[in-house]
């Protein structure tokens, strides 16, 4: 396309139908080639200034692999819009001495890493959604953390460490291991040194069969069966919507919330209850306060609230042995929400008093994966199974539990216990057959109940397997003791083994006519004292008995690290061997160092998508009233002024706290943060790094939409426009549904921050840091320089201002809807689906030629598109991939997509809109705003704008074909279509 300046036309090499490459020779100094993602038609439509601008980026120091242009690419200033570039941490000698290492020190690929549910995965399969168990050094307790980085590299040698209790670990020499003297590199460890180990291993978290566990249809049918209808009010719809909002209507076997649901169920089968009457719907858990807190955390993670109560109780029960009375403080956790009850009941949790009803372990768990079985029974055992205890300090009693039911339900009690026995057998654990225990008979108000008991066989091998792989959940004390018991039993085994060897040696030596006292002197050691050796020589019957060593209690006291359940264990062997393969590590890295090409991103604009429970039918008659109301509430256009009365101090807080600030002030719902990237806060922001001019501009503009391509649009989903039914359903989208999309950023404040720092960078860039750029607007500085650090903190403020701005607008939007429909916003289902910036630099880990590197990914007019599992994705979407909001022109339509499999090719970046094809100036001269308004009205789109010319600039004809752009990123696999939205009305500045 022709431009006013003659830019050089590049030559393109076709890589695929949607990828085109410009060689490094195109412009002097280019460090990497350029890759354009577009169809041939879109490529031809791009103006040559785009390629000039992107090649200027390719010149910048530290750039990795390629500079990218997305299919919506078009020229702006500095970087083209739709431009992506990532800069390497270790490039150009600008790493600060204070850099926090993510030295790649690694573990063998098969190393098992335990997650917080007590399930393990080989490290090579670990992803960012997995929470790791780690040790908090300060409090010496266990804590749950998410990995910041998952690193991988090749290695030539590997070290194998074996401990006394039989633990093995394979790692590289430079991998640190926790010892009594702190972290020590594996290569520096010596035999007999003690390292931290855990007795608990868990079971593998692997899905062999991918099954649907919950679907909307199942829920509907289940409610029909229970007689829950919409006849009186709309109970059924409310329950469905409540679950939809939490994305719980579609759950597959690999969903990361399923482990939580199974654990909750297991505990309810033990010490919990579901009460569902016309008056109350309560899910209750009973236990120790700390354990209930852990349960509550999981309940919260599913999106529900609950409260823990403590009250003194006096109990009196009649047993076969007589009347027993006692006082205690009862702690309970109550969750009052019918939808979670329906969900748990659908999954097979009994409703009502458990002694009075018949139930079994749900079939899908019995027939399910091993990890499901383990979670269910471990949570059940957390409530019901006796704690690990020894009868003489060395040998453990058989852990037992019992089930009580009314006499008439005797068979049901036995069947349930047999289900548990079956599961244990599947997990490789032997039981003593269930027995009816008279002593458990109980005479309550409902009549006589009878009890059955199941015990876990107490032989060492069986108990080690049980405590190390199954154990308990939701019971910290028993989990800890179980893990310690597992190590202790392994320790006993090791002692026995050693004694067996000594015994055999002693006998051999004696039969070789040795002197008994000399043999004793030779063989005496920690595990085998004089008496033992004499006894071995003169009485060789049976296996060596255990005595004279630490009892369980002493063992825990002397070896446990704090109350973590971890113990120190001696290294008995260190072996180094040749190795040719990949090693892995999880790391918690701090901020890293990089170039910040300032001009690439300034305004931190972004998109926010809101769903409703309204359909096009509901909204059509009110569309004009609603749009006008929105227009009045959300200031837009040239010089628009904030309606919010805040002072500079408030604004500084806002710039550090982002959307959280707005929520704190009452502008929005807490849940909005969970569906905003970064949780709505760039926590590295520092308001002392932004100028007074930026603050002055911000104070006057916060809560305004702006103009240009900033807009607020009401849209709907045309039947047939849902491309991924499963995901759409899960994300709460349905045909004919009304949604709202809006686009705005940090307004003048963000630009002021950028202008200020461009000038700062220009004054030091060449003289101090010897960096040259082709374009002054691309001024930059090393990240670890004072200037770079200051700007990074200031940019954080820009990101926060943009989050807060969109949050304030969402608040106004809810008000407008609520006034127009005379209903509360929550009744209208005005939930935020997602908020994502498309002008931002993001510190991310990426694999470059087999090596993991931390990069600062600059996206200008390009949306982050993360494939499932990445830690950048808010938790509720992590299993699916990140939602990608693509805003089209006001005449055509917009899209919701999801992070695609090939997104890592472009450092997880994709298109952000349809992209202009005609300049604003040209559009204004070619299109008449008033005529366009009439034409759009005729096509069913009502526009409210302050400016006819502004409207003309944004006409559909000024933009590329949105479908073509979306098809290009979909075909390239950068992101995949979920659904298309059609505009109904638009508020424009």
């Amino acid at each position: 396309m022709k431009t006013d300046i003659d830019f050089q036309e590049p030559k393109f090499t076709k890589i695929s139908d949607t990828i085109w490459e410009i060689d490094k020779d195109f412009k002097q100094g280019m460090r990497v080639p350029v890759r354009v993602y577009a169809t041939e038609k879109l490529l031809k439509g791009m103006d040559s200034q785009v390629f000039d601008q992107i090649s200027n980026i390719a010149v910048l120091p530290g750039i990795e692999k390629y500079a990218f242009v997305m299919p919506d690419g078009h020229s702006g200033y500095s970087s083209p819009i739709g431009g992506v570039a990532a800069f390497d941490v270790n490039n150009g000698g600008i790493i600060s001495p204070g850099i926090v290492g993510f030295d790649i020190n690694c573990l063998h690929s098969s190393t098992r890493i335990l997650n917080r549910h007590g399930l393990w995965k080989p490290i090579k399969d670990f992803d960012y959604s997995d929470t790791v168990i780690s040790l908090d050094y300060k409090s010496e307790t266990e804590k749950h953390t998410e990995p910041m980085l998952i690193l991988r590299k090749g290695a030539n040698t590997i070290t194998k460490i074996t401990t006394y209790c039989g633990k093995n670990i394979l790692l590289t020499k430079d991998h640190p291991v926790l010892t009594k003297n702190g972290m020590v590199k594996a290569g520096e460890l010596k035999e007999r040194e003690e390292i931290a180990i855990s007795g608990f291993d868990g079971v593998e978290y692997r899905n062999n069969q991918h099954k649907k566990i919950v679907t909307e249809t199942l829920l509907i049918n289940f409610m029909d069966k229970l007689g829950i209808t919409n006849e009186h009010g709309n109970a059924k719809t409310q329950i469905l919507n409540s679950l939809k909002q939490r994305m719980l209507t579609e759950i597959d076997s690999d969903d990361n919330r399923l482990p939580i649901l199974i654990k909750l169920m297991g505990f309810v089968f033990g010490d919990g209850a579901i009460v569902s009457t016309p008056k109350t719907n309560t899910l209750s858990f009973y236990g120790k306060k700390d354990d209930l807190k852990n349960i509550l955390m999981d309940v919260n993670e599913l999106g529900f609230k609950g409260k823990i109560y403590s009250r003194p109780r006096h109990s009196r029960i009649n047993t076969a042995y007589g009347v027993s009375e006692f006082d205690c403080i009862e702690h309970s956790l109550h969750v009052q929400n019918k939808s979670i009850i329906i969900l748990l009941a659908l999954l097979g949790t009994p409703i009502g008093k458990k002694t009075k009803i018949a139930y079994r372990v749900p079939k899908w768990i019995i027939n399910g994966e091993k990890w499901m079985m383990r979670l269910f029974i471990s949570a059940y055992f957390g409530a019901e199974l006796s704690k690990p205890q020894t009868n003489n300090g060395y040998n453990f009693s058989a852990p037992t539990f019992s089930v009580n039911k009314l006499e008439r339900l005797e068979r049901s009690a036995l069947l349930f216990i047999k289900d548990i026995q079956f599961i244990l057998k599947e997990l490789g654990i032997e039981c003593i057959n269930p027995t009816r225990v008279k002593g458990y008979d109980y005479f309550g108000i409902d009549g006589k109940s009878v009890g059955f008991r199941l015990g876990i066989k107490s032989n060492t091998k069986n108990l080690i397997k049980f405590f190390s792989e199954v154990g308990y959940s939701y019971n910290k004390e028993r989990e800890r003791l179980g893990s310690l018991a597992a190590v202790y039993l392994q320790y006993l085994n090791a002692v026995r083994e050693k004694r067996e060897i000594i015994k055999r040696s002693a006998i051999e030596m004696y039969t070789g006519r040795g002197s008994a006292s000399r043999i004793v002197n030779n063989l005496e050691c920690e595990e085998a004292g004089k008496n033992f050796i004499y006894k071995s020589i003169f009485d060789s019957r049976g296996i060596p008995r255990i005595y004279g060593i630490e009892r369980f209690e002493e063992f825990c006291k002397s070896r446990e690290i704090g109350t973590s359940g971890l113990v120190y264990d001696k290294i008995i062997n260190i072996e180094e061997s040749k190795f040719d393969g990949q090693v892995y590590d999880l790391s918690m890295a701090d901020e890293n160092h990089n170039f910040l090409a300032n001009g690439v991103l300034v305004s931190n604009c972004g998109m926010r998508l809101i769903t409703t429970n309204l359909t096009i039918k509901d909204i059509k008659p009110k569309i004009k009233e609603l749009t006008d109301n929105l227009f009045n509430k959300v200031p837009a256009g040239v010089g628009s002024k904030s309606k919010l009365d805040i002072d500079k101090k408030d604004f500084k807080n806002l710039s550090e706290e982002g959307a959280k600030w707005a929520i704190k002030k009452g502008y929005g719902w807490k849940e909005d943060l969970g569906s905003t990237e970064l949780g709505g806060v760039a926590d590295w922001a520092d308001s002392s790094k932004i100028s007074d001019m930026a603050i002055s501009r911000g104070v006057k503009q916060i809560g305004t939409l702006g103009s240009g391509n900033h807009y607020l649009e009401i849209q709907y989903i045309k039947p047939g426009d849902i491309k991924d039914n499963k995901l759409a359903k899960k994300w709460g989208l349905f045909p004919n549904q009304v949604v709202i999309m809006f686009h705005t950023g940090s307004r003048g404040a963000g630009h002021q921050i950028a202008s200020d720092y461009i000038q700062t960078f220009l004054s030091v860039m060449e003289s101090k840091y010897r960096i040259k750029t082709q374009d002054k607007e691309l001024a930059c500085a090393p990240f670890d320089s004072k200037e770079g650090q200051d700007y990074y903190k200031a940019m954080g403020c820009g990101v926060n201002i943009s989050f807060a701005n969109r949050q304030l607008i969402l608040h106004k939007l809810r008000e407008a809807f609520s006034e127009t429909f005379k209903k509360d916003a929550d009744k209208l289902g005005l939930e935020q689906l997602f908020d994502i910036a498309h002008n931002r630099a993001s510190l991310e880990m990426h694999e470059i030629d087999g090596e993991n590197k931390k990069l600062l990914v600059h996206r200008k007019g390009s949306t982050g598109s993360y494939p499932r599992g990445r830690r950048e994705i808010p938790k509720r979407f992590r299993n699916d991939g990140s939602p990608v909001i693509i805003g089209g022109s006001m005449e055509t339509g917009s899209y919701l997509m999801v992070g695609g499999p090939n997104a890592p090719q472009t450092f997880n970046s994709t298109a952000h809109g349809s992209g202009r094809t005609m300049s604003r100036t040209k559009a204004r001269s070619m299109v008449d705003g008033k005529e366009l308004f009439q034409k759009m009205l005729k096509n069913g789109i009502y526009v409210k704008s302050v400016s006819w010319s502004g409207l003309a600039e944004e006409s559909g004809a000024s933009y590329k074909d949105i479908d073509e752009v979306v098809n290009a990123v979909d075909a390239a696999g950068l992101s995949k279509k979920v659904c298309r939205f059609t505009p109904l009305s638009n508020v424009k500045g």
Binding site: Q49, R697, K700, G706, S707, S949
Partner: protein
Amino acid sequence: MGYKFLENLSIADVAFEVHGDNLEEVLEYAADALANTMIKNPTAINTRITREFEVTSKDLDLLLIRFLDRLIFYKDTEQLIFGNVDVKVENRLDSWTAYCTAKGEKLDPARHQFVVDVKAATMHLLKVQNKGGEWSARVVLDI
């Protein structure tokens, strides 16, 4: 002499070119172009409010950017649009200072035909130059 919008440059934003007999005119025409980018009928701007300010820079490009940024700042913080800007430039030692008197009024949707808001003046492709006695500059505004 005056300003001209460039139709085929930086299509997401707005680009213009100014020509003048001296540096003062370049700045003054650039101020007009800025006002005209935001409103369609700049002649409708009354000049009842005055703001006086000065900007300094060692570099002419930066001088122009700081000048435009200041006008944008008044628009964002006081909703002012200027119909007449008078500039005197002095070159002392190695730096340039522009003394400016900007006259205008508060933005009024009833009388000013809004076009599009300007967020910033950028340094992209920026060039303030004197060729054979004629001064010119090219500016890309961030929209």
